[in-house]
Subunit: 365 residues, 2 copies
Amino acid sequence: MDFSKIKKPTLLLDESKCRKNIRIMAGKASSSGTIFRPHFKTHQSAEIGKWFRDEGVDSITVSSVTMAKYFAGAGWNNITIAFPVNLREIEDIAKLAESISLNILISDYEQVSFLKMRILNNAGYFIKIDTGYNRSGIEWNEKVQILRILDEMNYNSSIRFSGFLTHSGHTYKAGSTKHITDIYNDTLLKFAPLRALSADKIILSAGDTPSCSIMHDFKGFDEMRPGNFVFYDLTQYFLGSCRLDNIALTVACPVVEKNNRRQEIIIYGGGVHLSKESVRINDGRIIFGKAGLYDESGWVQVSDNDFLRSLSQEHGIISASEELFNSVNTGDIVGIIPVHSCMTADLLRQYHTYDNRVMSDFSPK
Amino acid sequence: MDFSKIKKPTLLLDESKCRKNIRIMAGKASSSGTIFRPHFKTHQSAEIGKWFRDEGVDSITVSSVTMAKYFAGAGWNNITIAFPVNLREIEDIAKLAESISLNILISDYEQVSFLKMRILNNAGYFIKIDTGYNRSGIEWNEKVQILRILDEMNYNSSIRFSGFLTHSGHTYKAGSTKHITDIYNDTLLKFAPLRALSADKIILSAGDTPSCSIMHDFKGFDEMRPGNFVFYDLTQYFLGSCRLDNIALTVACPVVEKNNRRQEIIIYGGGVHLSKESVRINDGRIIFGKAGLYDESGWVQVSDNDFLRSLSQEHGIISASEELFNSVNTGDIVGIIPVHSCMTADLLRQYHTYDNRVMSDFSPK
């Protein structure tokens, strides 16, 4: 990586770490006999999509109709939009279903009266099940409601039932890997009986990154849809989903000022680059990223005492160890390991690889 | 506003409220005999810039070299980059100083040894003073350090001293308007004696939005640089800087699901649209926006019981009053008043006005 050319906050992607993350997850799904349908909302990049293709992936997940159109345009022809169906985009959905194998999500009975009247070119639908995250979906034990949806949708022969889909996002609040394992097992326990609600061969789809990273086997589920693992980040690190050196994404930021009195380093790199996502670390402090220097391999060497304590729109304030503080000068580059790589990638929308390629093709919003 | 065309999270701008916010602030600066140099980082829009021009504004503030180049391209020829000088962009700065009247910021002695050797085409520099915010700058009482900078920079005849600049961002943590007034007065008290450090006629520049909104008179300061007031937002509302109906920016979001059990409304509108900025309200809850229905004037009618309790990448979860919950259907549009309009505008980068214009010209990052 040629750091001399970096003038502004720049998203650096370690291709080999990223490809390794993809390979490990694809391998785990494969050895479990589980469909791997990775969530592309994390990277939103047609070029990174190709790295998944290299590992044999042919079906993907996205979180918006816009993203589905973008990846369909990049050659993906089997896409699940894992987001409650947006009735206002039904024309776009119908059009997309003409050209690719598309799955949408029914998460609420109110959507059914609208959808059962629409011609949807043999699209598939999943019923979104809430197994404890409390964000979206029908509660796992509301069988009457689920059967009512299946029954009503049965009148529409232009759309077929694909299965049940859940996202156990409450793993992100877990206090330990044991807790993540418990949530994974609890999800399976609540989810598995749903299979009996349909006579057809259906798919049980799950797969948050913490669960998928910690579990060694996905048996019981038919499909896994993790997304964040492609890059990982500090949130995943503190959850125990990855090691620090599995993280494939960092932000290179110019040092613009040093404050001796507070032993702080001020960088060009703020909320519009890194996002305002924060994570609470063990000692109770809220941090916005870890900070350090790039070594020759392009990795950021961090200690527990070097972290972003605050972000404004363009400023980041690093609370620095004496060691980092003394080895950095104004005008140097420091590396930031982001708290939430999905948000950081969405803000910077351009990946710089270590062989100096710039990948700017990114899904529109 | 034609809401029928809205399919995705859409940034709506009430031009008349926005123009009124500009007019009031310009008038206050004018009657105080203070230069009004508004911060354009909030809107980042050449077209909104023209509305300032209509109120007689001819000098502006930005927070990056990129933004300075963007607004210079839009015809602004008097720009202060109120961000610690980024030595890695010195070529761009020098080039820009050839065509416009440019001010940069020295916030640290380390920058001086570099800057005193550069030809900067009669650019101006401010010394950034920290009057209590603890983000950036030389502490107000470090006179020896300040005199040392003035002395060294004196050797460079291609750059002139413009004055002292501060940003009392600690007003954003104030618990009351009385507290904001106290910070304003404290800033003036610490700042005013600096005038004696230079024999030249210099500028004392300040101006955070909370102070500028609450104070009626800016006497003592020569220049004010508020930014956020152009739109205002929930943060300013809770600080007491504005009324709710002064807020010029809302985000129109499709309702994609309703959850009866939790009385929650799920919208298409998440962290990539609104940002993850939150604000703690009186009862201790953390909220990510206020939610309600648009009335005929385009304003969002909100109650204290309708707010965004959580945001994911694309989902927003509204904790709803019975009234809002019952009057909204899946497929409808709800309005969100954002917590931090600067971040929300930066994410959506496109303003839709109530006369159905789309203003997409936006500063690159």
